[in-house]
Amino acid sequence: MSKLDLSYLIDHRGHVWALTVDHIELSLTALVIALPIAIVLGVLAVRFRPLSWPILTLVGILYTIPSLAFLAFLIPSAGIGRKPALIILVVYAQVFLVRNIITGLNGVNPDTLEAARGVGMTGAQVFWKVWLPLALPVIIAGIRIALVTIIGIASITAWINAGGLGDLLFVGINRDYPAMVLAGVVAIVALALVTDLGIRLIEWLTPVARARRAGGA
């Protein structure tokens, strides 16, 4: 048997595709829950500077907890399945989302914001027309790293029956079925790469990136 046995991927492409869709669903659900939490934390840290150190430290520490230990720790309280998986993915995503939201918003030149107020924008207009658009590339980069990380960790949560492509890894290992494991690996890597590229494209389309390209910088 060759090391790159793609027979499972080819013969069971319907099953692999279903698991991929499941994986995407789990990852996007986690992102959709994680983002509003991160926005609240990030905006809090930007508006009240003294909060920014404790918030960043907290999300940093949570990220250092090893994922299997975290899962095992959650089983008594949250059981198994989607719920504990989502908790973990949401927690791990915070560090990238919060950090980039803070960096992005704080990175906008205060003089530019004062100019925006100076020409007569309301607080909301300053935020939506100037502050957020200028911070957007950094924030989107945070979303990209967070989502790729989520996709990776979501393959481990299959261990507690959360579904997704991780199933192929765990079942394949249990049954000593390398072609099944390989199918899982290929699908997960492909999904991560496509996601990364797709979000890079969105970054490339933001007004700031467009202006930067035009400026030749």
Binding site: A115, A116, G118, V119, L134, G215
Partner: protein, 348 residues
């Protein structure tokens, strides 16, 4: 608290003549924190409609704080600020600011917007229709001497520092404000570009006649642009007068030192040749070097030295001779100022 007041008197109407507003400060004080020295200390000031007034002073003198209280980026601790018949606190800040042009140093442009969108910001906030905005943008680009076809679609990062400031000026002028606030707008530019933009500002001001308040710490710039100069120190107005009087009759040692009134070459570079002009009748006019009436005494002196002539003929913009200058007349005009602060001869 905030009454709804029409902003009509803050903007001129499109079809009427463009005139400046009167700006009046009454006992304006700004204190940061409770017991510190005030940044602006009980300033009262009246600026006539259409006047270009320079706020001049060292850093920390309160000139920028004073300027930013007019469009309410800072709130005064006490006092009133009137623009024509409107007290600025009777309007909501965004409402007020849309009718006051505001130009700052460097990064004032929005880097993610094209030149046309930067200029269109205020008209959009005011809800103008698209056609009117597009027309206005082109009009303004032409006014600041940037061909619209070339510049409309560029981003600020594609412009030189001088071009960026021209766009900043155009953006501030977009909604035809009758008052303009300029906070060291040319401070980051090289000397040549700065001189160009100063000329542009003077030309535009002559054309539109808005009231302009312009903050700088550069005395050359102040004298070049100002109809009147407000000299500030420690939050107070030390002298409010025409540039020539500030240089020839500084109110005290501080003003004299700030404007370099004791340095004869400095003084001569600030004083217009007009001050030394003598009737043409006393001099021969043939074959004598000419000097423009817009020049300064220093230019006249160097021309005298260089040409070896003993006098110059002063000509107006149409090359008509209007008078003459001699070394003696220049000497008289550039004589050192008397300092009222040095009581040399106090009578008992």
């Amino acid at each position: 608290m905030e009454r709804t007041i029409s902003t009509d008197d803050l903007s001129s109407h499109a079809d009427s003549e463009h005139h400046g507003s009167a700006v009046r400060l009454e006992n304006v004080t700004k204190r940061y924190g409770d017991d510190s020295l005030p940044a602006v200390d009980d300033v009262s000031l009246t600026i006539d409609p259409g006047e270009l007034v320079i706020l001049l002073g060292p850093s920390g003198s309160g000139k920028t704080t004073l300027l930013k209280m007019i469009n309410r980026l800072y709130e005064p601790t006490s006092g009133q600020i009137w623009i024509d018949n409107t007290e600025v606190h009777d309007l909501k800040p965004p409402q007020l600011r849309r009718h006051i042009g505001y130009v700052i140093q460097q990064s004032g442009l929005f880097p993610h917007m094209r030149v046309a969108d930067n200029i269109a910001v205020v008209p959009k906030l005011l809800g103008w229709d698209k056609k009117r905005i597009a027309r206005r943008v082109d009009e303004l680009l032409a006014l600041v001497d940037l061909p619209p076809q070339t510049y409309r679609r560029r981003y600020p990062s594609q412009l030189s520092g001088g071009e960026q400031q021209r766009v900043g000026l155009a953006r501030a002028l977009a909604a035809e404000p009758t008052t303009m606030l300029m906070d060291e707008p040319f401070g980051a530019l090289d000397a040549i570009t700065r001189a160009h933009l100063q000329d542009e500002l003077l030309r535009i001001h002559r054309q539109l006649e808005q009231t302009v308040l312009f903050v700088t710490h550069d005395i050359e710039e102040a004298v070049r642009l100002a109809q009147k100069i407000v000299v500030m120190r420690d939050g107070r107005v030390v002298q409010y007068d025409t540039p020539v009087r500030i240089v020839t009759q500084p109110a005290n040692e501080f003003v004299a030192e700030l404007v370099g009134a004791d340095d004869v070459l400095r003084r001569m570079s600030l004083l217009p040749v007009d001050l030394a002009i003598e009737p043409l009748a006393h001099f021969a006019a043939n074959g004598v070097p000419e000097i423009s009436r817009d020049s300064y005494l220093r230019d006249a002196l160097s021309q005298l030295v260089e040409s070896g002539a003993d006098h110059l003929v002063v000509v107006d913009n149409n090359d008509h001779p209007v008078g003459a200058l001699s070394l003696e007349s220049i000497q008289r005009a550039a004589a050192p100022p008397e300092h009222p602060a040095t009581p040399a001869a106090v009578a008992d």
